[in-house]
């Protein structure tokens, strides 16, 4: 392959990757927008995480008022009893998540090294605060790590999933 052909191939692959990222975000947006109630929104989140991100072990934790404890209120494919609560306390990783910054193993290696066995924690934001945390425990065997498109999608879920899950008057405290 000539250098020009190689350059063209890289450009083409880059364009496809970029378009793919846009498709992922558009599909996730439509899927969440179609949700008519919380159950539907939870199903949409499960569907997005399984089909677009590649995980079948998902948990959604409510952030308690004092932000010290995360309590499991919905899960898919994980042992609910084993993950019923996460103690945020002074845990720096979970503190950052509650402050609004997603934790993504692989895309954010420097900050890894914590004892919590999840691949990602995504703050679900609503009204300028974190009302819940989406945890992704493992990835499918064929998926080595999150890529850049995945991180964009996780950030999208952080911004948008809360609107589908909770109305303004129906925050997680009222579950």
């Amino acid at each position: 392959m000539t250098s020009k052909a190689k350059e063209d191939a890289v450009k083409t692959n880059g364009a496809v990757t970029s378009a793919f990222r846009d498709f992922q975000l558009e599909v996730a947006q439509r899927r969440l927008a179609d949700a008519v109630d919380r159950e539907d929104a939870l199903d949409a989140i499960r569907d997005i995480v399984t089909n677009l991100l590649g995980s079948e072990e998902i948990a959604l934790f409510a952030v308690e008022q004092d932000q010290a404890i995360l309590s499991l209120f919905w899960s898919f494919g994980i042992d609910a009893a084993q993950h019923s609560t996460l103690v945020a306390g002074a845990n720096p990783l979970l503190r950052r998540v509650i402050d609004g910054e997603p934790y993504v193993e692989g895309a954010d290696r420097d900050r890894n090294g914590d004892l919590i066995n999840f691949k990602a924690f995504v703050p679900i934001r609503l009204g300028g605060r974190t009302v819940a945390v989406l945890g992704i425990r493992t990835l499918l065997p064929q998926k080595a790590r999150f890529n850049e498109s995945d991180v964009q999608l996780l950030r999208f879920l952080s911004r948008e999933a809360g609107k589908a899950l909770f109305s303004d008057s129906d925050t997680v405290q009222h579950l």
Partner: protein, 124 residues
């Protein structure tokens, strides 16, 4: 040259939307969809697709069973079938090939991999 038609089968709305987006934006293939195996069998006979891209885990009739039934029917026997699954273990792929599928692709779908695979069966 006639447009090639692909039957997309998945009970996941997200998977169908994603596959459709990739194909409608990056290829000239026409897409039709079904959300379970029973509907897929009917659509395959009615629409006569050039290829079937089908999920394995579905309600009513799973992808393996649907694939087997398509191979038993004269009018769907020759249609290439690519199974889509979250499982990549050997036992799983073996079960797929035993049911009569031509190929396998795993979720989450990689757009480049999907396009290359489809082009290898259908051309541009």
């Amino acid at each position: 040259m006639a447009t090639k038609k692909i039957l997309l089968v998945d009970d996941s709305k997200t998977a169908l939307m994603m596959e459709r987006s990739i194909l409608e934006n990056r290829t000239h293939y026409e897409c039709v969809t079904a959300m379970d195996g029973v509907e897929a069998l009917a659509k395959a006979r009615e629409e006569k697709p050039d290829l079937v891209l089908m999920d394995v885990v579905m309600p009513q009739m799973n992808g393996f069973e649907t694939c087997k039934k398509m191979r038993e029917q004269a009018d769907t026997r020759e249609i290439p079938i690519i199974l889509v699954t979250t499982r990549s273990e050997e036992s799983y792929t073996e079960a797929g090939f035993a049911s009569g599928c031509n190929d396998y692709i795993t979720k989450p779908i990689n757009s480049m991999e999907l396009l290359e695979l489809l082009r290898s069966y259908l051309g541009e």
